[in-house]
Amino acid sequence: MRIYQSWTQVLSRVLAAGLGGYAAAWALVFALGVWLPLARVSLWFLMGQILPVPLLLALLWAFAASSAARAWGWLLALAALLAGLGYLGKVLS
């Protein structure tokens, strides 16, 4: 079954899922850590429980997106947005 144009498309999506998803999830931890009013120990144990969800969604998105470029674009934009929110919170506090 061939549904993606070429193997480079497939590789690009795999990398988007892995690297893009990884970056977005990392940025999510950073942003939540800055904005959530919780002790660091509660933050750590909370992140451990919810982290599989963003990683999973990123993985599904990377293959469901209509093109590899969109898969990358949204994941990187999300990662940048979350990282930005995190830095904003850091600066404000």
């Binding site: 079954m1 549904i3 120990v41 750590w44 982290l51 599989p52 293959f63």
Partner: protein, 502 residues
């Protein structure tokens, strides 16, 4: 080429991630299933230990007597109390760098001459990190994430979850009946599969993506635990003071932790004026894998502190851990996990088989000129990761009985047997045609498991206790099932060959 629809992309992902990761998922799932009975397998692998009714006070007394003999000067002593699943007393002594351990009879206190073995822990260890340390943990976490995705896109692809809830048509075509089996095991097992995979990823996610440790604890891995578990240890004074008997402290600890509920005891700086004794509760009657504990000053007998209440977020996290480890619920829960694990393994194995069955009928030409060769390699890998890993696991147990008890590096040889046999199954699968490879390895694995009771009785004479007997009977039943499966599979291949010839 138009952009794929959602269902198409999910179906594509299910097929290819299921195939590539299935080769790791099946071994991980199968060894994880065996790991449910880690204590029982460990007990089987150390037949020098007999099941004896143990009583906590007596068990502690024999441990204490032995530690006073051999542990003189060691700053750390530990006692593992006997339980219904772990009938001997374990003692450990040493310092932070090096420890030694012994196994004692819980009543007589005799030091049991147990053979060196990794025991059932090997399966747990392989399951969690593929015998490859931190990198292995990250890989298993990634495999778990892909598995979660495969469960979700499996639902998307299957669609008719409720109409086909009870549908299994073994009398139809090979592809139809295997697909039904894959679907029905996946759908009916879905609660378990989601739970076990999600909680497994939760356990490992920090080794895959250590963002939380990096941001909140400057990368210090032990930090979170240190913030949750209170410690009542004291700095040794360097002033000698004889260690009084531990029996009264056990009694007091049991009033807090519950009679018969002490699992571990840790003694720090025994013989020092500031020595402490910590009693930890076992985990086998609650979901949350957290051990309540209480610590006493050894010399004065005063309580230094206790912890029976926990940070709720950490407790929730440890509940997910507990849900994965299934120390709770007793044998009904553990059998349920074991059978669900086998069903999950079967579901994935059938998924791998489906990939090749579909293409045997209608080749997909996905790999251009090399397609036939790639399909052959895929078949071989399927055989070795399904039947091969089952044979290798049995070989691990056989090695336990066949290797001489005093062999140097004995525990490593047992593990070597697992990997050597697994490698051989891969070679075998590569050399034989698919039908012969499946038949040969299913028969071999089936016989290896079914004959395990014989190997047990011949290799370790003496009375079988209930736990050893349980392992033997389970192996026998599982082995016979594999032999039957091998017979069915070989008939299917023969029928297909006859049809082709006609």
């Amino acid at each position: 080429m138009k952009a794929p629809t959602f269902t198409q992309s999910m179906s594509w992902l299910h097929t290819w991630s299921g195939l590539l990761f299935g080769w790791l998922l099946v071994p991980i799932f199968f060894t994880g299933t065996l790991a449910v009975f880690e204590p029982e397998i460990s007990h089987w692998m150390r037949p020098e230990i007999r099941h004896a009714p143990a009583e906590p006070a007596r068990a502690l007394a024999v441990a204490e007597a032995r530690l006073r003999q051999v542990g003189e000067g060691a700053p750390i002593w530990r006692v593992q109390m006997p339980s219904s699943r772990q009938p001997a007393v374990g003692i450990v002594w040493g310092n932070r760098e090096q420890t030694r351990e012994e196994v004692l009879h819980p009543v007589s206190g005799e030091v049991l001459p147990v053979r060196a073995t990794e025991g059932g822990h090997f399966f747990t260890h392989f399951h969690a990190e593929l015998d490859a340390g931190k990198v292995g943990r990250a890989i298993v976490c990634l495999v778990g994430l892909v598995m979660l995705a495969a469960l979700i896109n499996g639902i998307v692809v299957h669609k008719k979850i409720f109409q086909d809830f009870f549908t299994f048509r073994p009398q139809s075509s090979a592809q139809r009946s295997w697909l039904d089996a894959h679907n029905v095991l996946g759908v009916l097992g879905l609660p378990f599969l989601l739970l076990i995979t999600y909680t497994g990823v939760v356990i490992l996610v920090d080794s895959y993506l250590p963002a939380a440790t990096y941001h909140f604890y400057d990368g210090k891995a032990g930090g979170p635990r240190g913030d949750v578990v209170r410690s009542f240890e004291r700095r040794p004074a360097g002033v000698a003071a004889p260690l009084p008997s531990l029996a009264p402290l056990l009694q007091e600890a049991e009033t807090v932790l519950g009679a018969g509920h002490v699992g571990w005891i840790g003694i720090r700086a025994p013989g020092d004026r500031e020595a402490t004794v910590q009693f930890m509760r076992h985990l086998d009657d609650r979901l949350g894998a957290v051990a309540d504990h209480i610590t006493f000053a050894a010399v004065s007998g005063w309580e230094l502190g206790r912890q029976t209440e926990w940070n709720p977020v950490a407790y929730a996290f440890r509940t997910q851990v507990g849900l994965h480890l299934v120390h709770f619920g007793g044998y009904p829960a553990q059998w349920l996990y074991f059978l669900s694990g086998l069903a999950g393994t079967a579901m994935m194995a059938v998924g791998l088989v489906l990939f090749t069955i579909k293409r045997r009928k209608r080749p997909g030409h996905e790999f251009g000129a090399a397609t036939a060769r790639v399909y052959g390699a895929i078949e071989s890998l399927n055989v070795a990761t399904v039947a091969g890993v089952m044979l290798a696991s049995a070989a691990f147990l056989w090695a336990n009985r066949l290797l001489p008890a005093d062999l140097a590096e004995r525990a490593a040889w047992e593990i070597g047997a697992f990997f050597a046999v697994w490698a051989l199954t891969l070679v075998h699968a590569g050399l034989r045609a698919p039908g012969a490879a499946w038949r040969g390895q299913l028969y071999a694995a089936g016989l290896a498991w079914a004959l395990l009771p014989l190997c047990d009785v011949a290799g370790a004479p003496g009375l079988l206790d209930a736990m050893r007997l349980g392992v033997d009977l389970t192996a026998l039943v599982g082995g016979l099932a594999l032999v039957y499966l091998g017979w069915r599979v070989s008939r299917r291949f023969a029928a297909a060959a006859a049809k082709e010839a006609a």
